[in-house]
Chain length 340, copies 3
C-alpha cells in the first residue's frame, strides 16, 4: 500500500515464506503457497494483503477485516473472520517489522563518489559505499564498507565510521568513532564542543573539550538531535540505543545498551544511564546523575536525583510515578473541595 512514488515493493511473497520470515506458525491457510502482494493496515487490507493485530483495541477491526492474512497472538485466533489465514506469534509487532522489511528493504546503494562531493585525499572510503552530492569528508576520516553518506553531510577529520552505516543528509559528525549499522538521521549534530565554561564576571572562559563521541553498533540518532563530545572522558552511546529527534546529549554522558530517548529529551553533562532506560518526550535530566538500568522516565519529567534500577518516575521535580499521579489527583481535589 506504500506509495510507489517513494517505495519499491520487493514482493510478492508466498504466505509460507512470510510465516518463516516472521517466525510465525501458519494456521487456517488453504494454500500456504498463496501469493501475498503487500502489507496493509487492518481497515484497508484486501485478500492480497497481510496485516497485523498488536493492540487489543483493534480486535473489532480484526474481526471485520478483509485481509487475506494476519499476524496475531494465538489468544485472538478465534476472533478471526472466515477465510483469513493466520500467522500466530507472541509478538505480532516484531513479526510485522520483519515482514514489512521483506517487502520494503533498504534500497540498494549506488557505490561511488558524487562529482560535487569533497573527499580529502587522505580519507578512506570502503568498498560499496555511496557518497552523495555535496558531502564533505575530512582528512584522515575512515568510512567503512557499504555506507551511505547523504547529500551535503559533513564528516570531520579523523572520524571513523564502521560498515553498513547510513549518515543522513546535512548531518555533521566530528571527533567520533562510530560502530556498524549505525543510522544517523538528517541534520543530527555529533561531536561539537560541549558546553564548558569557567564562568565569571570578567567573562566566561571556554574550556577545551578534549574527549570524543563513541557510538556503538546498531544505534539510531534522530533528525536535528545534538550529541556533544566529551570534555576529557568520552560521550558514549551504547549498543542498540534509539534516540529520537531534537534530543540534546551533553558532554561525558554515557548511555548503556538499548536505551530509548524520545524526542526533545535533554540530558546534561556527565549523567550516566544503565541499560534499557526509557525517557519519554521532553524529559530533562540534570548533570552528574546515575540512572539505573530499566528506569522509565515520564514525559516532561525533570530528573534531579539518582534513580535506582527499575524505577518509574514522573513530574518535575521527578518522583516515583505513583506518587506523581497521587500528587496531581490531590491537587485537583483540593481545588474542587474549595468549590473555586
Amino acid at each position: 500500500m506504500a506509495d510507489p512514488r517513494f517505495f519499491t515493493n520487493a514482493g510478492p511473497f508466498a504466505l509460507a515464506d512470510l510465516a518463516a520470515r516472521a517466525g510465525a506458525e501458519l494456521k487456517n491457510a488453504a494454500d500456504p503457497q498463496r501469493s501475498v502482494a503487500d502489507v496493509a493496515p487492518l481497515e484497508v487490507a484486501g485478500p492480497e494483503h497481510l496485516s497485523f493485530l498488536d493492540n487489543k483495541k483493534y480486535v473489532d477491526a480484526f474481526a471485520a477485516s478483509r485481509a487475506g492474512a494476519c499476524l496475531v497472538r494465538p489468544e485472538f485466533a478465534e476472533k478471526a473472520p472466515a477465510g483469513m489465514a493466520l500467522l500466530l506469534t507472541d509478538d505480532p509487532y516484531r513479526a510485522y517489522a520483519k515482514v514489512a522489511s521483506s517487502f520494503y528493504p533498504l534500497p540498494p546503494l549506488t557505490p561511488g563518489v558524487a562529482e560535487t562531493a569533497s573527499v580529502h585525499p587522505s580519507a578512506v572510503v570502503g568498498a560499496g559505499s555511496q557518497i552523495d552530492p555535496g558531502a564533505v569528508i575530512g582528512a584522515g576520516a575512515e568510512i567503512g564498507e557499504r555506507c551511505h553518506i547523504g547529500a551535503n553531510a559533513v564528516i570531520g577529520h579523523g572520524v571513523k565510521i564502521g560498515n553498513d552505516c547510513r549518515i543522513g543528509a546535512l548531518s555533521s559528525i566530528g571527533f567520533a568513532l562510530i560502530g556498524e549499522r549505525v543510522y544517523i538521521h538528517p541534520g543530527a549534530r555529533i561531536g561539537q564542543d560541549g558546553f564548558g565554561f569557567a564562568m565569571g564576571p570578567q567573562g566566561h572562559l571556554t574550556v577545551p573539550q578534549l574527549g570524543r563521541v563513541v557510538i556503538h553498533d546498531d544505534v539510531e540518532i534522530g533528525a536535528n538531535t545534538t550529541i556533544d563530545r566529551g570534555a576529557g572522558p568520552d560521550t558514549v552511546i551504547g549498543v542498540g540505543c534509539k534516540i529520537d529527534k531534537l534530543v540534546q546529549i551533553g558532554h561525558n554522558v554515557q548511555l548503556g545498551r538499548g536505551c530509548v530517548l524520545v524526542s526533545q529529551v535533554g540530558i546534561s553533562g556527565s549523567t550516566k544511564l544503565g541499560d534499557f532506560v526509557v525517557a519519554a518526550g521532553q524529559a530533562g535530566l540534570t548533570g552528574h546523575l546515575q540512572i539505573g538500568s530499566g528506569v522509565k522516565i515520564g514525559a516532561q519529567a525533570g530528573v534531579m536525583r539518582d534513580i535506582p534500577a527499575g524505577e518509574t518516575v514522573g513530574g518535575s521535580p521527578a518522583v516515583p510515578i505513583t506518587q506523581w499521579l497521587r500528587q496531581s489527583a490531590e491537587l485537583a481535589r483540593l481545588v474542587r473541595k474549595k468549590g473555586r
Copy 2:
C-alpha cells in the same frame, strides 16, 4: 526604517493607495496623495512614515507619536495627535501586514539552476524557479513554478512541490507532497523515518515507515523543526498551518486547517488536531489523542488525554486552564499558610 543592507523598500506609496491596500478608511488626511516613505514603530516614526496601533497598552505612544499616518481602530481615533492622518480599520495588525508587505515584498527570483547545484536528470523544475548553489534535487522530484530552493537544501527522490514555494537553505525534504505557497525555513527536516521500533530485550527492531508527509497550501514550517513521515498512514499538515522553530511532529500526526504551533512544541505519533488549534511554546502532546477544533494549549502544558473542541488547557498533566490557575494559586497559599 528597515536596514537597506538587507531589505529593499518598494515605496514610496500615496496615502490613499496604502489605505486601499489595507482595506482601511482614510480620515484626517489633508492630502490623500501625500507620499509615505516607509513603515515605522510609533516611537520612532516621523511625518513621512506610517505606523499602527494594535495593543491599547501603546495608546500613549500613539497620542505622542510624530508619525504622519497611522492604522488604528475607530475607537482610538480621538486620541490621535493633531495632523496625523488616520487609516481606520477593525484589525490594524492585519492591515499593517498588508502595508508592510507592500513596502517590502518578497525579493524577485533569479530563475535558473546554480552551477554547483545537483539536479537529477529525471527531476522536473518548473518555469521561473531558482535553485541556489549546492542544492540537491533527487530522481523524479517535481518542483513547481516560481519556487525558490535555498542553498544546500536537499530534496529527496519523488518529492513533489507546488508553485510559489520557498524551501529554506539547508533544509531536507523526503517522501513528501507539498502544496502551493508553502514556506519551509532553513534546517527544517521533513519526511525522515518516524520513531517506530518493536522493542525488546533482544534489541529494538526498526519498523519500516511506509507513509508520506502531505503538506497543504499556505503552510509555514520553522527553522530546525522536524516532521516525520507516516508509518503507514500519512502525516498531514492542513491548509494554512503555521509551525514555529524546533517543533517535533511524529508519524501519522494530522493537523487540521490553520493550526498554530509555537516553538519547541512536541506532538507524539498518531495524535490528531482539529482546525485552528493553538499550542504555546514547549507544550507536549502524547500519542493517539484527539484534540478538538479551536483548542488552546498553554505553554509547557503536558497533554495526556483527548480535549474537546474549544477548551483551553494548561499544566502538566494538562487540565482546564482555570483549574490549573487555581491549583497553582492553592499550592502557593498552602505554603504561605504554613509560614514556611
Copy 3:
C-alpha cells in the same frame, strides 16, 4: 590524554611556564623547569601530567592522585600527596581552561576558498580566512580576517562577520551583523523570519520581519540553536553570551552581557534579559518580559512574569526558588499524610 587522531598537543611546557599562563603560584616544585607533557583528570594522570581540583567532592581523588602537578586552591594544599607540584590559585577551573588551551589551541587555519565553495563576486573575504568546501556566501556579505567558514555553511546577502569568527558547518546566517571572536556551532540558524502573523479565521497573514540579528563580541551559539531576526527592532545578543544547543530565541529578544542559556531553553518574542542572566535547561520564557540582571532561572521553569534583578526562580509557573522547593515538599507531604 586527548586522542591524537583528533587533537594536536602543542606541549610539552615547563611547569613554571604553565604556572605563569595560569596566573598561579608554584609550590612544592622540586624543579620549576620540569617538563609537563599534557593535562589529565586526577584519576588517570601520571607524573608527566598536570591536573586540577575544583570540586571538593574530589579531594580524596586529589590526595591519591599520581599527577606530577595540580592546580588547586590554597586551602587544599595540605592534602596533596608527597611529590606533587602545586599551582595555587583561587579559581582552578579557570586556570585549567588556560592551561588546557595552551596544550590544545585552536588548530591553525588554511587560508583560501575551497573549490566547491560559492562566494558571490560582490562579497568580501578578509585576509587569512578559510572557506571550506560547499560553503555559500551571498552578495555583499563581508567576512572579517582569520575567520573559518565551515563546510556547507550558508551566509546570506549583506551579512557582516567580524574578525576571528568561527562559523560551523551547515549553519545558516542571514540579516545579521556579527562581532569579533564569535563562534557559531554547526547547524545553528541565525536571522530567519520571526513567528509573526496577523491571525484570524480567514487565515494567518504573515507580517514582514524587518529587523536584524546583532551579535556582539565573544558570543558562542550552540548547534541547531535558532535565533530569529527582529520584527522591526533588532534581536540582540550581548557581549560574551554563551548559548547552548537547541535553544530558541524569538524576534526582538535582547540579551545583555554574559548571559548563559542552557540547552533547549526557549525565549519568546520581545523579552529582554539584563546582564549575566542564567537559564537552566528547558526553561521557557513568555514574550514581552523584563528579566533583571543576575537572575537565575531553574531547569524546566516556566517564566510568565517580569523578574527583578538578582532573583532565583523555579517551577512552572515560575516562583521564587525557595517557594518552589517548599511547594514541591508540601505536595509530597500531603500525599504521604493521606497514606495513599
